[in-house]
Symmetry: none
Subunit: 185 residues, 2 copies
DNA sequence: AGCGCTATTTATAAAAG
DNA sequence: TCTTTTATAAATAGCGC
């Protein structure tokens, strides 16, 4: 998409990143080439501060999304610009409320009363069930088996064999039906 | 401090970033040069997932701190590892509670009282997920297959075959380890 | 679990539109 | 204010300890 212009300059080999041994002509005679390091302290210029906020806010939300996907982590992020505008992110399959609830449980800090403990408890229970199935599924698919003992592997193997057997029977039924159908026509 | 070795390869002018047209001698005969892009999807290898989580978690908390300082923003971040360990950040001069209060005011979402809805919605969602996994599990175990089409059966078959293949590899590892152990004793 | 190393990939500060 | 561009600064994947 970028692939800017590059009016037919010629060969333009595959090299990239020609640093700038000689400044390849300043775009304008004028001054600033800049980009550069900044120290981590409040940006005084309000405009710059706003721009930087916008960029970094996007950056953080993106990072949050990435870690939640990559590492299967639960993440909640809430950001207010200095102007008071709100931005937030919450990992999929959960909610800020849920994360905060967990936060309370885990940190001991109480963010709100405990009216919803029971609902929460049910969610925990179901999620646990969920996790167990997830694990079983993974195992049947041959994933995450490093922690398994030989005995457990054998049980999985039996399950898989049984599955295949049943499945083949079923496939045979389909096959027979097909053959029968063809013969009759 | 770093300034590693670089045994006198020669002139080594000020250029950096010599990619690696020819690998300038591998340190050891051994293999891995690696580093590289990864796609944003769950990291299957548990160990890598944990390491990446740790690194990126630090990264996000750092970014949160930076934006809060640079841009005078209020930021709250809560992260749970997949193992359930909690990490969090909150900008200075405030607290998570205060940020959340502001969040409610600003977003209209009421985290506490309206939590019922989100909780029950979540329960519904999880239960549905649960059901789907249940079905998939049954299928892999060769149950409830009457409603499946041949094509679907084939997909299941492939899954089972893949599972068996992976599993046999794993069993082979156990076996090899056992043999090795016996021989050594 | 964490730190150091380095090649690469990303994020971004500045500038200009 | 948001976007695109470009040169730099940072983050980080895969190793090794």
């Amino acid at each position: 998409i970028p692939q800017s212009h590059h009016a037919g300059t010629g060969p333009q080999s595959a090299r990239r990143n020609q640093p700038f041994l000689t400044p390849p002509e300043e775009e304008e005679g004028g001054g600033g080439m800049g980009r550069g390091k900044i120290e981590i302290k409040r940006i005084e210029n309000q405009s710059n501060r706003q721009v930087t906020f916008s960029k970094r806010k996007n950056g953080i939300l993106k990072k949050a999304k990435e870690i939640s996907v990559l590492c299967d982590a639960e993440v909640g992020v809430v950001v207010f610009s200095s102007a008071g505008k709100l931005y937030d992110f919450c990992s999929p399959r959960t909610s800020l409320s849920r994360i905060l609830e967990k936060y309370q449980t885990n940190s001991g800090k109480i963010l709100w009363d405990e009216k919803h403990k029971s609902l929460s408890a049910e969610i925990d229970r179901i999620k646990k069930e969920n996790d167990n199935m997830q694990i079983e599924l993974r195992h049947l698919k041959g994933e995450d088996m490093n922690s398994l003992q030989p005995k457990e592997l054998i049980m999985i193997e039996e399950a898989l064999d049984n599955g295949l057997t049943s499945l083949h029977e079923k496939q045979m039924e389909h096959y027979d039906r097909l053959v029968k159908h063809v013969c009759m026509s």
